[in-house]
């Protein structure tokens, strides 16, 4: 029982940064922009988030630092890919390279420092329940926030007019423009939301997951978040399922090594990507004619005036 509870807790902790980063990228991609710089924005968010918390002693301010850092990084992307209509794939990859370098620079002073990690909820009685107590009522604020975030994004996309307009931009930017919607402005907001989420997801790592900063600590989570968005076929509900599934695989991978299971760890690390490919194939077979991806995803738009 103890072990199962420990595994569930570990899975939740490992899944949360994936869920937050992927939620942001989902909104970005739904607006028609492919920002491959999630890994770079996350690692800068991690460095700045840790720096903020270390300087002020407040996890909350650390998280804010992470969000702002991620959003600023994404603004660089927006200026290039939307303002100057540069190829989005190339810009996103460049952003990741920039982020990795920048985070090393920012974080150089913090390496080896420790902070007190984010506090966990404690409700007497409830949290002490066996098995589910700590899982449901003993998490840190990030876990609860990530779930609220994805519910909020679902509600925004499918229940508000602004969400409808955002999806419209992702489906056909020429039509959206012809109807008078400011495509580039809407996309800039979407990109910055994605950047803020990636920054927060990055900050989660040194603020709650491990209470210190090491360069490169995102360790490919940004890429998994990108795969996760595709895996979810751009739907918030499936995104939650996918995030916990992918999180579970990473935890399983660690335990499998510890138990001496004969599956190479490299295969386990590749599983999320393999699952994404399989889901893509299944989806395209299930829905011939229509596309599941936002139709304008990754294409450059220059309005004529």
């Amino acid at each position: 029982m103890e072990l199962i509870e420990a595994i569930i807790l570990a899975v939740l902790a490992a899944s949360t940064p994936l869920l937050i980063a992927a939620t942001g990228e989902l909104v970005t991609e739904r607006s028609g922009v492919l920002n491959l710089g999630v890994e770079g924005m996350m690692i800068v968010g991690a460095a700045c988030g840790f720096g903020g918390a270390w300087l002020t002693g407040s996890i909350f301010i650390g998280a804010l630092f992470g969000i702002v850092a991620g959003a600023l990084m994404s603004l660089v992307f927006a200026l290039m890919a939307l303002g100057l209509a540069v190829n989005q794939v190339a810009t996103g990859l460049a952003l990741t390279i920039l982020g990795v370098g920048l985070s090393g620079l920012i974080g150089a002073g913090f390496v080896g420092e420790r902070i007190t990690p984010a506090a966990h909820l404690y409700i007497p009685g409830l949290t002490d329940l066996p098995l589910i107590g700590r899982v449901l009522f003993g998490e840190d604020a990030f876990v609860y926030f990530s779930l609220a975030l994805i519910v909020g994004v679902w509600w925004f996309l499918y229940r508000t007019r602004a969400g409808l307009i955002l999806r419209a931009c992702g489906d056909n930017h020429v039509s959206a423009h012809a109807l008078g919607y400011p495509v580039l402005r809407i996309r800039t907001f979407a990109v910055m939301f994605g950047g803020g989420c990636a920054g927060l997801a990055g900050a989660y790592l040194p603020l709650a997951y491990t209470p210190f900063f090491i360069p490169g600590m995102t360790a490919g989570r940004g890429w998994i978040a990108l795969a996760l968005v595709v895996f979810s076929s751009w739907r918030p509900g499936r995104l939650v399922v996918g995030a916990y599934l992918f999180g579970a695989v990473t935890i399983l991978q660690l335990h499998a090594q510890g138990w001496g299971v004969g599956i190479p760890s490299q295969f386990m690390s590749a599983l999320p990507y393999l699952a994404t490919v399989i889901v893509l194939v299944l989806l395209s077979r299930a829905r011939a004619g229509g596309s599941t991806a936002p139709a304008a995803l990754g294409t450059v738009f220059v309005p004529d005036r």
Binding site: R161, L164, I165, R167, A168, D171, N172, V174, S175, A176, A178, L179, G180, Y181, A288, G289, G290, S291, P294, A295, D304, R305
Partner: protein
């Protein structure tokens, strides 16, 4: 500078004297760099009128309506709405004033539902629920049925246009702009549209109607403004004009009459189709049923019919995009070719021009020379030992440009940058310059202006005179009457026996297009199939 002279639009029966028009442009000018897309255009739109806007491709029609709809800002001039000068910040302001627009290329979102698409065209002041209820009511009132919950990608072209029209009508516009609304419609769908437009006119709304189909304009419109090279050249009552006189005003001169050379001889059969049957390739396709015909050199066979009766499938079977199990079903130059690929058929001397210009006839983002290579690689000496002879591909572009008067901004632009008519001239030219023995061409002048259409039709006639066999599929009966020697009709995957053009009256063709048989005896067979 010359003083600006204002040409007054006629007011029918002096009805409007003393009032001001609903919408007026005064010296409207739009400049792109050195290029004057609109040069000082005056136009008056009155309520209760359907006003046609005519002009060749590139005459400035789209630019003018974009400015009126607030999509682009004019460089100079003024727009007056109900007598007051206005500056439109964007389409939403135009809509809120009562200007609606139905775009030529639909501004729809394929992966959103009908109701969501309509909601996006409104200002969003009412709840989605109220909007859906009103959508149902409007579509019922005007006889434009729509299922609000379906996603657009599942709908036919006619249904998509219905969404656009309903979306515009939901704003209760005083003035509605329609940009080539019938270009993609079947004759029946077009007739339904005209009923709606007449009704809107009777309700006191003004309509600006852009179309290339002059007969349609004569039938529907009260006034016509003609643009040429960005300038307004005339305003007239289309009912008092002939299609030919309207075309003259658009082109600014006589359109060359398409003429077949005398003494055209038919020779050996060059394209023979024997009992070709083919299952549909996609869910909503048409099954080809026992199609047979013989086409000799020097002959043009026209295939008429309402779109979607198997013409696309027949084209795919002839071009080799879909293969037949029995090689003998398609015989090109005496060789059984039903099982051969497109390239192998080209090597036999066949050439193909599909209906869709961008995406099927050409790769839109590739240069013309590269597009020349895409069909010319088979048999036109453009490839040597696996390497592309760029000089040869460019030469093809130059020859097509020269022979068929293709107007373009530079020597070798991207295909997508050409206007529809010019791109079509290039595509037809590219194939004809290969001197094909057999040319299969689908909708050769679809959405092409009168001048370019005349050039293309003449080229097809000349090719036949030179001894080639030409198969033309077209929905335009006038076009077929002009160039074809025989006309057959396609209906539900069946092809009728060809009629000599002189014998193929509209009535006869109409009957065949509706699925009736000319011989009462055969009726049972046609229905039973």
């Amino acid at each position: 500078m010359q003083a600006h002279q204002r040409m007054l639009d006629p007011t029918p029966n002096g009805l409007h004297s003393g009032e001001s028009p609903l919408l007026q442009t005064l010296g409207l000018t739009k400049r792109y760099g050195d290029f004057l897309a609109n040069d000082s255009i005056d136009i008056d739109i009155w309520p209760k009128q359907i006003h046609a806007l005519l002009g060749e491709n590139g005459a400035g029609k789209s630019t003018l309506v974009k400015a009126i709809y607030g999509l682009i800002q004019p460089s100079a001039g003024e727009i007056r709405w109900q007598g007051q000068p206005i500056m439109l910040s964007g389409p939403s302001e135009a809509r809120s004033r009562g200007i609606g627009m139905v775009f030529q290329h639909f501004s729809l979102f394929d992966n959103l539902t009908v109701a969501e698409n309509v909601a996006l065209g409104l200002d969003g002041k009412e709840s989605f629920k109220d909007m859906s209820a009103r959508l149902e009511q409007v579509s019922k009132t005007y006889g434009l049925p729509l299922d609000p919950k379906r996603e657009v990608w599942q709908l036919s072209v006619g249904e998509r246009q219905r969404i656009e029209i309903v979306r515009a009508l939901m704003q209760d516009p005083k003035f509605l702009i329609l940009d080539e609304p019938t270009a993609v419609l079947t004759p029946q769908e077009a007739d339904q549209l005209f009923i709606v437009l007449e009704r809107l006119k009777a309700e006191g709304r003004a309509i600006l109607y852009i179309s290339h189909k002059l007969e349609e304009v004569k039938r529907l419109c009260d006034t016509a403004t003609i643009l040429r090279g960005g300038k307004k050249v005339d305003t007239c009552n289309p009912r008092l004009e002939t299609a030919a006189s309207l075309a003259r005003m658009m082109v600014g001169g006589e359109i060359k009459e398409v003429k077949a050379a005398a003494g055209r001889k038919t020779t050996v059969p060059r394209l023979v189709v024997n009992d070709l049957s083919l299952a549909p390739g996609e869910a909503h396709g048409v099954r080809l049923e026992h199609i047979s015909f013989e086409l000799k050199g020097g002959e043009i066979l026209g295939i008429a019919g309402v779109a979607g009766n198997g013409q696309d499938e027949l084209f795919a079977a002839l071009s080799g995009e879909r293969l037949s199990k029995d090689p003998g079903t398609v015989v090109i130059e005496g060789i059984a070719a039903g099982h051969l690929s497109i390239t192998q058929r080209r090597k036999l001397g066949a050439a193909f021009v599909p209906e869709e210009r961008l995406g099927h006839g050409t790769a839109p983002r590739m240069k013309l020379s590269e597009n020349a290579l895409l069909t010319g690689h088979a048999a036109s000496g453009m490839v040597h030992h696996g390497f592309i002879d760029t000089a040869a591909t460019l030469k093809t572009v130059d020859r097509a440009t020269e022979t068929f008067d293709v107007r373009k901004a530079k020597r070798d632009p991207e295909a997508a940058s050409l206007s529809g008519g010019n791109l079509q001239k290039f595509i037809v030219g590219r194939e004809i310059l290969r001197n094909p023995a057999v040319l299969v061409v689908s909708q050769p002048t679809w959405g092409v202006d009168a001048g370019a259409a005349a050039v293309i039709r003449q080229a097809l006639l000349d090719l036949a005179t030179a001894g080639a066999a030409v198969l033309v599929t077209s929905q335009d009966l006038d076009e077929l009457a002009e160039i074809a020697d025989r006309i057959a009709v396609m209906f539900h995957g069946h092809l009728s026996a060809p009629l000599a053009t002189a014998d193929a009256t509209r009535e006869k063709l109409g009957l065949l297009m509706g699925g009736s048989s000319l011989e009462p005896k055969e009726a049972a067979h046609a229905v039973g199939a």
